[in-house]
Subunit: 333 residues, 2 copies
Amino acid sequence: MSDSTIYEVARLAGVSIATVSRALRNTGPVSAATREKVQRAVEQLKFTPSRLGVSLAEGRHAANGIVFPDLSGPYFAEVLLGYEEVAAELGRSVLILSTRDRDGVPATVKDLATRVDGLVVFGQTLSDAMLTELAESGLPTVLLARDAHPGTEAVRSENGGAAEALAVHLIAHGHRAFALAGGHDEGDVSQRWTAVARTLGLHGIPVPRPVECPYTVEGGYEAGLRLLPDNPDVVMCADDQVALGVILAAEELNLKIPGDVAVTGWDDIMAARHARPALTTVRQPLRELGGAAARVLDELIAGVEPTNTTRVLATDLVIRSSCGPHPPAQEEQ
Amino acid sequence: MSDSTIYEVARLAGVSIATVSRALRNTGPVSAATREKVQRAVEQLKFTPSRLGVSLAEGRHAANGIVFPDLSGPYFAEVLLGYEEVAAELGRSVLILSTRDRDGVPATVKDLATRVDGLVVFGQTLSDAMLTELAESGLPTVLLARDAHPGTEAVRSENGGAAEALAVHLIAHGHRAFALAGGHDEGDVSQRWTAVARTLGLHGIPVPRPVECPYTVEGGYEAGLRLLPDNPDVVMCADDQVALGVILAAEELNLKIPGDVAVTGWDDIMAARHARPALTTVRQPLRELGGAAARVLDELIAGVEPTNTTRVLATDLVIRSSCGPHPPAQEEQ
DNA sequence: TTGTACGCGTTATCAT
DNA sequence: ATGATAACGCGTACAA
C-alpha cells in the first residue's frame, strides 16, 4: 500500500538511513550482522527505493525518451522495439511521445525532456528550431532517419545507393516510364528520389516529379488513382504502405501487376512479403536502427561530446515479383 | 545547459520561490506587476520546473506504464499507439517495458512500478503471483487482452461470439475437417478455441486439438507443415501472423487456398488485407483497446476502487477470400 | 499580496 | 563500521 521509506527500514532495523543505503547499494562497509538486519527489514516492509528520491539524489533519471510522428504502422513499431530492447540492456527506461497534434508539441516535448537523460527524435517530427533549442539546452539528442543537426548525432539507413540499385534493376526490366509516389521534401525520401533522378538521368530517362501523399495505404491508393491512368511502366513508392495502396488502386483499375505496371516499395514491412504480388522493396534494418540510436544516445549521456556525425546502416535490395518477371531462382522470399 | 532552478528565477525576479511557483501555476494571488517580473525571469533563464521536484512535491508521477511481451508485430504497436494517445490527452507520459528475457522481469517491472502512477499489463506477460503483488502494493493496474485479476480492472475484446460466428461461417462453406493452429492455454486464444469447439460439437463435427506454435509467421509456417499433410478443409489460426505462415506452408506444399484448404486468422492486421488470398479474419479494435485501458487506468489513479471488472470491446468478422468462394458482393475489403 | 520554512525520499560527505 | 546532516528541486501550509 503506502510505500515504505528508507527511514522506516532504518528504524525497523535499528540503524541509520545511511547504513541502509550502504547495505542496499554496496557503497561502503557494512558488517555482516547489520546487513542481515537490514535485509530482513527490507523484505518485511517490501521496501523499494523511490525512483524520485534516487533520481533527485543521483542527478539522473536513468530513462530515455523517443519522439515520433503518428504515422504509426509497422515501421515505427519495429524501430521502437529495437530501441527499447537496447535501452533496457543499458538499464534505462523508455518514455514514448507521439506528436500528432501540431499545436501542443513544443510543450509536450519539453515536458518529456524533463523526464529523461536523453532523447531520440525521428526525422521530421520536430522543427529545426526546436532541435536547436534541445541541443543548446544540453540534453543529449540523437536523430533518427535523417542527417545530424548541429549539437546532435544521427542514425539512419542508407538511401542513395539502394535507390540507385533499385532504379538500375527497374531499368534492366525495360521500364522507361517512371512514376514516383510519395512526397519529396522530407529528408529520408528525398535522398532516395534524388538518387533515382540521377540514375534515370544517366540513362536518358525522363525524371518524373514525385506525387505527394500521406505515407499510408490510403495515401498510396489515392496517389495510384492519380498516377496509373498515365500508364507508367513502374510506380516507385516512398514506402511499402504507399505501394500497397497503389496495388489496390491498380486492382481497382483492372491493371495487372507486374504485367501492366510494376510497383516497388521501401522498408520491407511484413505485409510486403505477403502482398499479392509480393512486393519488391528495400529492407531497412529497423530494429538495428533503434538499437543503434539507443547506443549512441548512451554514449552522449555518458559524457561524449556530440560531433554532428551521421551513422549510416546498410540496406538490402529485396527483389520479389512486383517489379517484373524473374527467372524463379532469382526471386527471394 | 545546467537547468536553472526556481531559486534562480526567484532571485532574478526579486521575489521568493513561493511567488514564482504561484505565478507559474496560478495557484494563488499574484500581483500583475510581480507576475510580469517572474515571466521575464523565466524566459531569460529558460526555466522549466524539474519533473523530479514537481513529482516529489505533488506525490505523483503524471506517468503511466505499459508492459507487453516481445511478440512485437503490428498488434502491440497499434494498441500502444491508442494507449499513448489517450494518456497524452489525459496529461500523462507513457513508459514502455517489453518483457523478453524471462529472468529479469520481476525486477524490471518493479523498477517500472516506481516510475509511474499506474500500469497496464498485457495478457500473459506477468505471472498471477506478480499481478497479485502489484495489486496488493496498491498500484493501479489494468489488464489487457485477458480477464480481470483480483484487485485490477481489465479490457479485452470479444472472443467467444466472433469465434462462434466464424466457425458457423466455415461450416456453411461445407468445411468439416477442422484444424487449429496456435497454442490454447493462453487466455485470449483459449476463449476462442473453446467457443469453436462448442460450435463444432453442436454440429456433430469432430473437435481438433490445437497445435501449439509461436504467434509469428515462422511459427505458423511450422504449424502449417505439420497440419496440412492431414488434408484439413480449413485451418483456423490463433492470429493473422500464424495464418500468413500457414499460407506460406500451403504454397510450399502446392496447395491452393481456398481451393484445397481454407485458412482464417485473427486481429485483421494490415498484411491480412493485402495477403494472397486476402485473409478472412476477426477485427479487433486495437487502438480503442489501448485507449480504453488508458481511460480505465486514469479512473483507478483518480481513486476509484478496482472492481475486478472486465470491459469487453466488440469485434467484427471480416470475410475475405481465404475461407472459401463467395459471391462477389459478399466480399469485403 | 508576499515570504518563511518544512516535507517529499534518496545519496553521499564528513564526523565519530 | 556507523550516524548526522546537507544537498537535490519543488509545492504549499502558515505567518506576516
